[in-house]
């Protein structure tokens, strides 16, 4: 009976620990931004690693009091979820990322936030470690319960995010810890904690997001109010209304009318779209260019969010298909624009393009960027709509005389506009167009560039319409079909000519690689294997970028990439201090130290490389990074649980371990080559089939991935028991380092680079085990 209570407690706490990771990713995305998602995984790993170090240091004192300490750990985990995590989120929201590079004091909220996030993971992991250390005879069973609980936790996290705000979901995770503690010891403290959860869920429903979030800005407007607030795992949708909340992007400065107020849509506090009651004002915007050239009979709007939909519907006889990935936003679009000509399809744009219902006269891409250029916080955000593979499919969905249209905010130096043009250029070359100039029309206002790409070369009528429209509205013709740059009026003077020279180079040069090589930023069209449209930084041109920006700082232009490096360095330091340094106090006893270091570091690195790689990979397949994180974590842990159960029955021979590690290496190699084929074929499948097939596909390698760690621990327990804490610590330390390292490698070299790094890690583990098991 007691054994059962321990197992249930283990299951619950494992569930809560994984659910917390997923929920915290969403909570941080709402409080501050998506860019800290991977730091959560690292901080969780840091908690696991440092708890191992504590166990190693205080093994003799903790083991005799294991029952009491484990209950305290669980209650501390529950209390820290209730008290520390809301504070951590608030501290994260208070962090001014750009001031990090100017004012050292700005680091404090970030450090405080990371420390507070670390607490429940540390105490939860300390409980797990203590149970593992105490119950060495049944380690396989305990490990299996732990992994199964973790797998279920990933699914539970998604469910929680459907019905609760992240802060409420965190409180529910606290309930799991408190319940686990109560199972082990019927203490009134556990009951108080459970009551605390109830109070928290009822009364602490939200935290204030960063003042730099678009929604914070909107809510300070006069009479601003949230008219709808719906939680969802792929992003909480809030609709804000205010008489001062207007949409005037790309607007002509000749316009003297009144901009109508329009409810704005925010996803996780970031601007997502607008519900325009009256879209006629968009006739005064550069975004009207495609409709000035030709009124389509059937148009497709991808990830529109609202403005383009309203604009198209304001023209009679246009049938509009809207592909909107967020189900809540799709509902709002249907409710806002009740029109028989409108069809709203809830799918990822990329998935729809693979199996379209129709072919179109006009395809409108979502507006990109922000005026002046972003600070690069989106650099880590995968975008499978803006890749070469996606544009090839998109081209086939256009009618023979169809138009592709996109608008992009002008950034300085130009990056987003040129990368979008690079995607067009690559597509035109791929379909055999040699004279690109006649297929492109582009105009710009002071803030926005609008580009139309025609499948057939444009004629004189189109050129005349373009000239008339731009002259009337005071727009500059950046590119006239067949003529090139025409800045006769020059209504808007930019800082330099980089945009015009970029257009000229990409649309007229025989060899565009010269331009790409020379350009300060990476504006090459991205591939599916490196789907980071918003990543522009070239590390080899850092000095020149610094010179270009003079007194400004690099951080302003590519903060996402810089943050990956900084968090990687900070977490590595923390891992060494919290995990390896305490162990060093114990002195590392002799006995296969190098082999132990290599083996446990390799499997720590290799596993995390695979986890991060697959999370990124499956984002395309399952449609969102949070779905992908939950699905990958659940499948991996479920498979690993089964693998670890089987590992109990396996002999710990060289042959067995080599066979398992060798199988892992072969499976990674196969996955690198077969995954793109699988994703291409499976993208059009129904969602249920995608989930079943994806989970099954991941569970198979996970089964093998669950064996190397317990097998090697068994060997150490038998031959070198004093090395067990070190093995645990090394594995934890390198798991912490692996998450940001994997993200960095993916961003620099694509999925294949991380895949090969994982292969190398497991190959090294094979060699290292030869020495451990000798």
């Amino acid at each position: 009976m007691r054994l059962l209570a321990v197992d249930i407690a283990l299951f619950l706490s494992s569930l809560a620990l994984i659910a917390l990771q997923i929920v915290l990713m969403q909570a941080l995305a709402q409080a501050q931004g998506h860019h800290f998602a991977y730091a959560v995984i690292s901080l969780a790993m840091l908690g696991f690693g440092s708890s191992g170090a504590v166990l190693a240091l205080a093994r003799d004192k903790l083991l005799p009091r294991a029952d009491k300490v484990s209950q305290l750990c669980l209650m501390f985990a529950a209390a820290s979820c209730l008290l520390a995590l809301p504070l951590a989120l608030q501290a994260a929201a208070l962090t001014d990322l750009s001031l990090l590079f100017i004012d050292a004091r700005s680091w404090w909220p970030l450090i405080a936030s990371a420390t507070l996030v670390f607490l429940p993971f540390f105490s939860g992991a300390l409980f797990l470690g203590l149970i593992f250390m105490r119950d060495t005879e049944s380690i396989g069973q305990r490990y299996a319960v732990n992994l199964l609980g973790s797998a279920v936790g990933a699914g539970v996290a998604l469910l929680l995010l459907f019905y609760f705000t992240p802060i409420q979901a965190i409180a529910i995770c606290a309930a799991a810890f408190a319940l686990a503690a109560w199972l082990l010891w019927h203490s009134w403290l556990s009951v108080i904690l459970l009551l605390g959860v109830l109070v928290s869920v009822m009364f602490i429903t939200d935290i204030k997001p960063s003042s730099y979030k678009a929604i914070s800005y909107a809510l300070q407007l006069p009479q601003a109010q949230v008219v709808s607030d719906i939680p969802h795992p792929v992003g909480r949708i809030q609709i804000v209304q205010s008489p001062a909340l207007r949409y005037g992007q790309g607007l002509s400065l000749q316009f003297r009318g009144t901009l109508p107020a329009a409810p704005h849509i925010y996803r996780n506090g970031d601007a997502y779209g607008v519900l325009l009651p009256d879209a006629t004002v968009l006739n005064e915007s550069v975004q009207a260019l495609p409709l000035e050239l030709a009124i389509p009979s059937r148009a497709l709007v991808l990830h529109a969010g609202g403005a383009a939909v309203a604009h198209l519907l304001s023209h009679n006889a246009v049938q509009v298909d809207v592909v909107e990935p967020h189900p809540v936003v799709a509902r709002w679009l249907r409710a806002q624009y009740r029109d028989d000509r409108l069809t709203v399809i809830v799918r990822e744009g990329r998935a729809y393009l693979s199996a379209p219902l129709e072919h179109y006269d006009l395809i409108v891409l979502p507006p990109q960027g922000s005026f002046g250029g972003g600070v690069g916080l989106q650099a880590l955000q995968e975008d499978y709509l803006l890749t070469r593979e996606s544009f090839r499919v998109l081209w086939d969905v256009l009618h023979e005389d169809g138009l592709l249209s996109f608008s992009v905010y002008l950034d300085q130096p130009p990056r987003q506009s040129l990368k979008l043009l690079a995607l067009v250029v690559d597509t035109l070359h791929a379909v055999g167009v040699s004279d690109l100039s006649g297929h492109i029309a582009a105009i710009r206002s002071w803030d926005m560039l609008s580009v139309v790409v025609s499948k057939r070369p444009m004629n004189d009528v189109a050129r005349e319409k373009l000239a008339a429209f731009s002259q009337t509205k005071g727009f500059d013709r950046l590119w006239a079909p067949g003529e090139g740059v025409v800045l006769t009026d020059h209504f808007h003077v930019m800082e330099d000519d980089l945009l015009t020279t970029g257009f000229t180079a990409l649309l007229t040069a025989n060899d565009t690689s010269v331009f790409y090589d020379d350009y300060l930023f990476d504006v090459r069209a991205p591939y599916d294997t490196k789907p980071y449209f918003h990543q522009f930084l070239r590390w080899d041109r850092l000095q020149e970028v610094k010179q270009y920006f003079a007194s400004s700082t690099l951080a302003f232009i590519e903060m996402g990439s810089v943050l990956v490096v900084l968090t990687g360095i900070a977490l590595t330091g923390a891992a060494i201090i919290l995990i390896l340094a305490p162990l060093a106090w114990l002195n590392w006893p002799p006995g296969r130290r190098l082999a132990i270091l290599c083996y446990f570091a390799s499997i720590g690195l290799g596993f995390m490389f695979l986890e991060i790689l697959w999370i990124q990979h499956f984002t395309l397949f399952w449609g969102h990074s949070l779905y992908s994180a939950a699905g990958v974590v659940a499948a991996l842990l479920c498979g690993m649980g089964a693998g670890s159960i089987l590992s109990i029955r396996l002999r710990t021979s060289h042959k067995t371990v080599t066979l398992i590690l060798g199988s892992i290496v072969i499976m990674i190699i196969l996955s690198l080559f077969l995954a793109p084929i699988f994703f291409t074929a499976g993208l059009v499948w129904p969602e249920s089939l995608k989930w079943i097939s994806g989970l099954m596909l991941l569970t198979f390698p996970a089964f093998f991935l669950g064996m190397p760690f317990p097998l090697a621990l068994r060997v150490l327990n038998q031959a070198y028991p004093q090395q067990v804490p070190w093995a645990w610590g090394i594995n934890g330390c390198f798991s912490v380092i692996a998450a940001p390292l994997a993200v960095f490698l993916v961003m620099q070299g694509g999925f294949h680079m991380v895949g090969w790094a994982a292969i190398l890690a497991y190959a090294l583990a094979i060699l290292a085990f030869q020495s451990i098991g000798r």
């Binding site: 914070s216 300070q220 001062a244 992007q249 003297r256 922000s370 002046g372 209504f491």
Partner: protein
């Protein structure tokens, strides 16, 4: 010096304003502080090292930057940062802009002694104080009521009597005093408000930072010649995200 409030605000707002006025008088800002030799020395250093070194040459602007005691426009306890080369938080999610940006915007505005100037986003009043050294009249609009009240008190104590401040949404400008020779917008906007273009005098100049919160913003110069409105991108900057549309 006068302050204009929106009539529709009731007793609650008046009470808030009264309280904030008390805070303004006795708490947040050192209105009782005086200029010192040390402050003058720091200001001279600021002008030489931060402003002249970056290319601001207008002698009137440099004089204004030397004269206006910036440390009076930062919150109590933050005075030591007043003359440093960065923005300083002033509460309510707002900042007093970096000295160079203030000088640069003022230089680009080409303010003359008979000009009527509109400032949108009064903040702590520093930019208005600098503009008031150069222009005949400065009208400034602030949407945060408490800040508007505190700034009014501060400017009065500092002796500026050609500045009029109003608590309102700066998006609509200040129609009753239009047209303006110069409009200086110190709050980042997502677009150039048509009412401000309307209120700009023929031949007038508007300096406005446009962009999104947490993003790079661009200082844009808007000029109006008859019906033609033209823009010129000047400088990428980062202002604190402010509270208006």
């Amino acid at each position: 010096m006068k302050i204009v409030h929106k009539k529709e605000e009731g007793m609650t707002m008046n009470r808030q304003l009264f309280l904030s006025m008390l805070i303004g008088l006795f708490g947040t800002f050192p209105v009782q502080a005086i200029d010192t030799d040390r402050a003058r020395e720091l200001r001279e250093k600021m002008v030489t090292e931060q402003i002249v070194a970056r290319g601001v040459r207008d002698r009137n602007v440099l004089h204004a930057m030397r004269v206006v005691p910036r440390h009076l426009f930062v919150p109590l306890g933050e005075e030591r940062f007043a003359y440093e080369d960065h923005a300083v938080p002033i509460g309510y999610g707002q900042t007093i802009s970096q000295p160079y940006i203030v000088a640069y915007m003022t230089e680009v505005a080409r303010v003359q002694s008979d000009f009527r100037v509109l400032e949108v986003g009064a903040g702590s009043g520093y930019q208005a104080a600098v503009l008031a050294q150069l222009a005949k009249d400065v009208y400034t609009v602030e949407i945060v009521a408490e800040l508007a009240q505190q700034t009014q008190v501060r400017l009065r104590h500092a002796g500026y009597n050609n500045i009029t401040i109003k608590h309102a949404d700066g998006y609509y400008g200040w129609g009753e005093h239009a047209p303006f020779d110069v409009i200086v917008v110190t709050a980042a906007a997502s677009h150039i408000p048509p009412p401000l273009i309307e209120q700009l005098k023929d031949g007038g100049r508007m300096i406005i930072p446009v962009g999104s919160p947490y993003m790079m913003q661009m200082l844009v110069l808007v000029t109006k010649e008859g019906d033609q409105v033209r823009t010129q991108n000047l400088l990428p900057v980062r202002f604190v995200p402010l509270t208006r549309g």
